[in-house]
Symmetry: D2
Subunit: 162 residues, 4 copies
């Protein structure tokens, strides 16, 4: 099994930015999460874009669609901002012959306390066991794009039919 990690940006990748800071470049801590999990599967990570998900346009979603649709591997995890994760998941829904799991986090992966390591690991457990399709993995749950909404007030994802 090989898992390909794509990122489209979002809070999970947020880094402290400052003109004089050495944190200007967003080195991902995905590698650190996978190392701590002592994973043995083959993996690769690719950056599509690094944007707040509120700033994503239809064209950006076309770019994401094309990148993943053309990806030769079957197991894809896409990290993405939470605010429009559902919109992007719906756009990707017609991708065939792949399992695509979108995930992200409410606090940056680089923070000492963050939901990012949990969400990445949960998505890894799901992506290799699900049938082909597009899914969202947040708050320890796996949702289909048409049955999920971000409850902005509570800061969690919920199914429409609970």
């Amino acid at each position: 099994m090989k898992i390909v990690f794509y990122t489209a940006g979002g809070t999970i990748d947020k880094i402290y930015f400052d003109a004089k800071s050495k944190y200007e470049v967003g080195e991902s801590i995905l590698g650190e999460i996978l190392r701590e999990g002592n994973v043995v599967f083959e993996h690769e990570s690719k950056v599509i874009m690094q944007k707040d998900s509120l700033d994503l346009t239809d064209e950006d979603r076309d770019t994401i669609f094309t990148a993943i649709d053309n990806e030769p591997n079957r197991h894809i995890i896409l990290t993405h901002g939470t605010d429009t994760m559902v919109t992007t998941a719906k756009r990707l829904n017609e991708i065939r012959n792949k399992v695509v799991v979108l995930t992200g986090s409410m606090s940056p992966a680089r923070f000492r306390s963050s939901d990012a390591p949990f969400n990445i690991a949960c998505a890894i457990g799901a992506v290799q066991t699900l049938p082909d399709g597009v899914y969202i993995s947040m708050n320890g749950r796996i949702f289909t794009p048409d049955n999920v909404v971000k409850n902005v007030e509570k800061g969690v994802f919920e199914s429409l039919s609970s």
Copy 2:
């Protein structure tokens, strides 16, 4: 969805023990892992036993079998020592109408660097997406009991047919 966490002991639950220590009692850090993951599903945790998996007897495995077989909920995660996790998984294999995912860790969950949070989260992603059956989730992989072995030298779980 509700997930029931059972523990049978193992390294994941290991705590520093010392006659004068306040760590005598093994309070689980499962709660801390779930809180950091900001999970929204219903869950419950139950202790079956707290043993090194090398010390588990056939009778202990009968006890584990009975506890899980009688559990009314469908989604079960069983934390267990890694040394005989495969043996227990095979013993549980005839349980029907449930998804049982065994996981554990190579270093105690309480350590500052541990594979435990990753393994728990990965098992959570898997348990809700897999068909009924018994599985092992270690090193970011999901295995069936008859196609996995612990490679003691490397400290990882591998599939027999890779």
Copy 3:
């Protein structure tokens, strides 16, 4: 003994900022650091300002001087950006009857790996044992304001002599 923590901003207090983020307000993690250190001394924390130290003006330094000079307690730790920490330390140098230790960090205290907890703890050890005066505590060293410089390239503070 009572220690009063003042902050003038800087990287140590940097938080991820985003219009829709719940991290807008810079709750300090000083409390978390002190709790983990299980400290038993009396303490209090006060915000003077929250600025990048490169943006601090002479007037800002007058404000900092006045705040600390008027502080009734003798043991003061001032967290401050590293870029102009030496300038502020020199400005504070004429404060009498107090031990003032400036510290800060190269990466935000909120990051999962940060020099902030170490620097705070090291400053606490120093502030209660030093004679009256103004000092800088960075990189595990205690410096006087006239014998220290930030080596920007290496990202560390060094004494001029030695």
Copy 4:
């Protein structure tokens, strides 16, 4: 400045022990603490013994005394179990021309939440600013051996006067 770290054991160095575990050998995490603090002073670490402090005998204290008395460097931090830290500090009290700071922790340095990193850093701040003598640094305080007691019930060190 050079700091020499000696260890005589205690909880701070406690590691999970198990016949089949890879944690058998107590690799110190002192290096990790110093690396996170980004320290720039010269340092060295030496193991005198690795014992629960309740098991230390008068002969063990003679061994510790001799090791530190013969140490050519002036700045010494001795990590030690908390239960008899005061006894050892009193035994070392006649050492001349050195600053010796004893510290330890209530929970192992290897734990994800531990007072060890704080205590080490606080001792580093103190050891370089104190006059020659023997001190105990615990709970963010610096004590002299004849004015400190471990309050076992509260799990903190307190001064006798105050």
